[in-house]
């Protein structure tokens, strides 16, 4: 199911750059700030904001306005500034929850000042929409209902322009219908859609009527009144065609598919679904494609066309897997708006002029935003493929690191356990403190892709300190870093060497009757970072023999090998690991690409 919530901006965000520029020059030459100054600044934002969405100083500009309004104790100015901040969070920064917060701050002021109650309805309506978009329908309902309750008394007031309240009235009603529809409270949904249609007709908003009819059709069909539902869907469809309501064409088609399916008109449902897929080709909206593939699977299933049903379902599942909440955010992310905003500004303005004729002027800002969404989706398509591949590897890398930690923890705990049985409490405590220090570092570093070489070596040293206490003889640890290497500027994946060091100790040095030496060398070789460990232990051959001939590779080493493979694939590098059996002991050479945190190469 897909119901489109319609947007109406709090302030009319009508772009007029000429006007904006002249206002700006007044602001810049303004004397002592007063209420008019605040008004000018707020108007300036409304006129200029969407033409330069890339400017990251918008937020601080509005906060400054807010500060001035606060100093003047000018409540209307505060409300408008909060509203602007909310719009920035919502549309430029894609942060709906911040937007909600600032709208709520605005509401607080409105609620304490009777004369500002005209602003209550748009603000509540916007909060409702924000929650609706986040699929928090119950919360959305709360705010839409609050808005609805405040409209009635305003309708009787003479100082409020009736057309403004009725514009919101229809929109609130339809959005209430949408929310109830999503919550499957169909009787309420139908009631509000019907009222919404009446009010939308009063203000001649085709878009709102068609949208409400589409939702109503779906709600009726879901509640079993299929033929009535079908009738409303058809009316909605013909309005979309007649008035070129492209913004809601897709959602209306989606509802039409569902209704056709409910009415057992499988061929019709299939036709709509294919139309949606065609339409969506240019938009490439993943969530739409995901839901429509599922619907198609249902259609084919009912038609007993099991092969196609299976294909559609497989596609649906594939898409669903790749569609995380993050992707949803990406679709509306600022990135796309930013990249394309400058290039497409002319196009956008033309498109908006056209929309202006079709729809009510108040939908102006909304039109621009939706257009930006469309542009965003187009751009998103291009990025999607490369991103997807990277994401797969990324997940794998994380999974592997997560695997590593328990292995590491239990080995260390085992060491401590041995120690507690054999030695006194004070030393055990000291041991435990070291271990907790290491755990802390591990926890902090394990979710990082890379850490500095310095940090990595420090962790390694702590680890060795712990292990060293296990041996009554101890072992010597030598660390040699080439002067060419700046450990604070070289980045390495965390704890790559740890499994090998562990191996050297447990299987190399622990079986010896002479003092063990562990040597770690870090240097630059052939433009790669060579990270090598030498031990003078019993070597792999003898160690395996001690383990009753079981040739067993440690889990940690296997994971490190996998990590290198993935890093190579991901960063197109040639990291490698080599284990060399020496005459006495073993040498492990880990080669990693040199990655500097700060470099100008």
């Amino acid at each position: 199911m897909f119901v489109m919530a319609l947007f109406i901006s709090t302030i009319s965000f009508s772009q007029s750059l000429k006007e904006a520029d002249s206002i700006e020059s007044i602001i810049n030459n303004y004397g002592k700030p007063d209420e008019n100054y605040v008004r000018l600044r707020n108007t300036f934002v409304a006129k200029k904001l969407f033409s330069t969405p890339t400017d990251s100083t918008w937020l601080s500009y509005n906060f400054e306005t807010l500060d001035v309004a606060k100093k003047l104790d000018y409540n209307e100015g505060k409300v408008l500034a909060y509203g602007n901040i909310a719009v920035i969070y919502q549309y430029l920064l894609s942060d709906p929850y911040q937007a909600i917060d600032y709208n709520l701050k605005s509401m607080e002021i409105i609620n304490n000042n009777n004369q500002l109650d005209v602003y209550a309805i748009p603000t509540l309506h916007n909060i409702g929409l924000l929650y609706y978009e986040q699929k928090e329908y119950n919360k959305a309902l709360k705010y839409f209902i609050d808005a609805l309750e405040r409209i009635a008394p305003l309708n009787n007031r003479k100082d409020v322009k009736t057309n403004i309240t009725s514009k919101y009235y229809s929109s609130v009603l339809v959005n209430l219908g949408n929310s109830y529809n999503e919550l499957n409270k169909l009787d309420s949904a139908i009631y509000f859609y019907k009222n919404g249609i009446v009010e939308s007709e009063k203000i001649n908003s085709y878009l709102s009527v068609a949208n409400a009819k589409s939702g109503l059709g779906l709600a009726l069909a879901k509640s079993g009144k299929i033929s009535e539902g079908k009738q409303h869907i058809e009316e909605s469809l013909s309005m979309v065609d007649k008035h070129n309501l492209e913004f809601i064409r897709m959602p209306v088609y989606i509802n039409a598919t569902e209704v056709a399916l409910a009415n057992h008109e499988y061929t019709k449902a299939e036709n709509f679904a294919s139309k949606i897929l065609v339409l969506n080709k240019s938009l490439n909206n993943l969530s739409i494609e995901t839901s429509i593939r599922e619907t198609l699977a249902k259609v084919y299933h009912r038609k007993k066309d099991y092969k196609n049903a299976f294909d559609a379902l497989t596609k649906h599942i594939e898409l669903k897997d790749s569609l995380t909440s993050n992707d949803r955010k990406l679709e509306i992310s600022r990135k796309e708006i930013q990249f394309e905003a400058d290039k497409k500004q002319l196009l956008a303005q033309e498109e908006i002029k056209r929309q202006k004729l079709i729809i009510n002027t108040s939908l102006f800002g909304g039109g621009l935003v939706i257009l930006a969404l469309i542009i965003g989706s187009l751009l998103y398509k291009r990025k999607r493929e490369t991103q997807f591949n990277l994401k797969v590897s990324d997940t794998e890398l994380k999974a592997l690191r997560a695997q590593m930690n328990p292995h590491f923890i239990f080995n260390a705990l085992n060491s401590i356990g041995n120690y507690i049985t054999n030695k006194d409490g004070a030393t055990a405590k000291n041991y435990l403190n070291k271990f907790s220090g290491l755990m802390r570092e591990t926890l902090e570093n394990s979710n990082k892709e890379t850490i500095t070489l310095k940090e990595d070596l420090e962790m390694l040293k702590t680890y060795l300190d712990i292990e060293r206490k296990r041996f009554s003889e101890g072992f010597d640890f030598k660390l040699n870093i080439d002067s060419e290497i700046d450990p604070e500027n070289i980045l390495v994946p965390p704890m790559m060497l740890q499994p090998f060091v562990e191996n050297s100790i447990w299987h190399g040095i622990s079986g010896m009757d002479y003092k063990g030496i562990l040597k770690v060398v870090v240097k630059k070789e052939d433009n790669t970072l060579l990270y090598a460990i030498d031990d003078n232990g019993i070597g792999r051959k003898k160690s395996n023999k001690n383990n009753k001939g079981h040739k067993r590779q440690s889990l940690g080493i296997k994971i490190t090998k996998d990590r290198i493979d993935i890093l190579n694939k991901k960063k197109k590098t040639h990291g490698s690991i080599k284990i060399i059996d020496k005459e006495i002991g073993t040498r492990v050479e880990l080669r990693l690409p040199i990655e500097k945190e700060f470099s100008d190469d």
Partner: protein
């Protein structure tokens, strides 16, 4: 003699602090409490010099405890096991803390710093910063900067950028002033990780909200709102662009 109390909801944690105090003759433990309410009551009666304060105390926090007092004529040392959020909050307000399990070295170090002369004078300022930061969003937080001359409280928003100077850091502010800290730039770049700051180079950490412009090219620069241009290391460019784009 430093008269101290301990507030912690876990008896074994209380015991471990008591144990550590035994090897420090200058401290006497005047009482131990397991709830915020008992702790507040005892503080008013005993008027201790030092409070060891747990972060999570049943359903309350050490912050709730501090909120009960208008002025703070006692030192505070927080104790916590693993609470990155709380540790960050202490770092922001330059308050002392101990990580459980507490080692003797840690304990000694904190005691030394607590007893430093001007520590109590600036305490209320630091606690105010801590409590203030709990009530605002991340980019509206304040940070307390300590140096040998003064304790300065800064809004993150008024910091344009930070510059490393050997192992110290200079803060460059919106009002053209400069504040010195003896901590490393790395400390601050980790502290400001979740705020809108980005390390563009080995020696510069910039407030992204004050980046007016990014110039492409080799090398590329960010132009700050005061006109200062800062070179961007090539290896940091992609990350910077990503952060600028996702700026919230």
């Amino acid at each position: 003699m430093i008269r101290a109390i301990i507030i912690d909801d876990e008896q074994h944690c209380i015991e471990s602090v008591v144990e550590l105090c035994k090897s420090h003759n200058e401290i006497s433990i005047e009482g131990t409490y397991t709830t915020v309410a008992d702790g507040v009551k005892a503080t008013n009666e005993i008027k201790p010099d030092l409070v060891f304060l747990d972060v999570e105390i049943h359903d309350k926090t050490g912050f709730n405890y501090l909120e009960q007092f208008h002025s703070h004529p006692f030192h505070v040392v927080f104790t916590t096991a693993y609470n990155k959020y709380a540790v960050k909050a202490f770092e922001f307000s330059a308050l002392h803390y101990l990580l459980k399990p507490i080692t003797n070295d840690q304990f000694k170090e904190v005691l030394k710093r607590v007893t430093e002369t001007n520590s109590l004078e600036t305490l209320s300022q630091r606690i105010d910063t801590l409590l203030y930061n709990q009530t605002v969003r991340e980019d509206e937080r304040r940070i307390t900067i300590n140096n040998s001359e003064a304790t300065t409280v800064l809004h993150l928003a008024e910091i344009l950028y930070c510059k490393a100077d050997v192992n110290c850091t200079y803060f460059f502010l919106k009002n053209n002033k400069k504040v010195f800290s003896s901590k490393t730039l790395k400390t601050f770049s980790e502290l400001f990780e979740s705020s809108d700051f980005y390390r563009v180079d080995q020696s510069f950490l910039v407030n992204l909200k004050h980046v007016k412009k990014f110039t492409k090219g080799k090398p590329s620069f960010v132009i700050m709102s005061n006109g200062k241009d800062i070179k961007v290391a090539i290896s940091r460019k992609a990350g910077l662009l990503k952060r600028l784009n996702n700026l919230r």
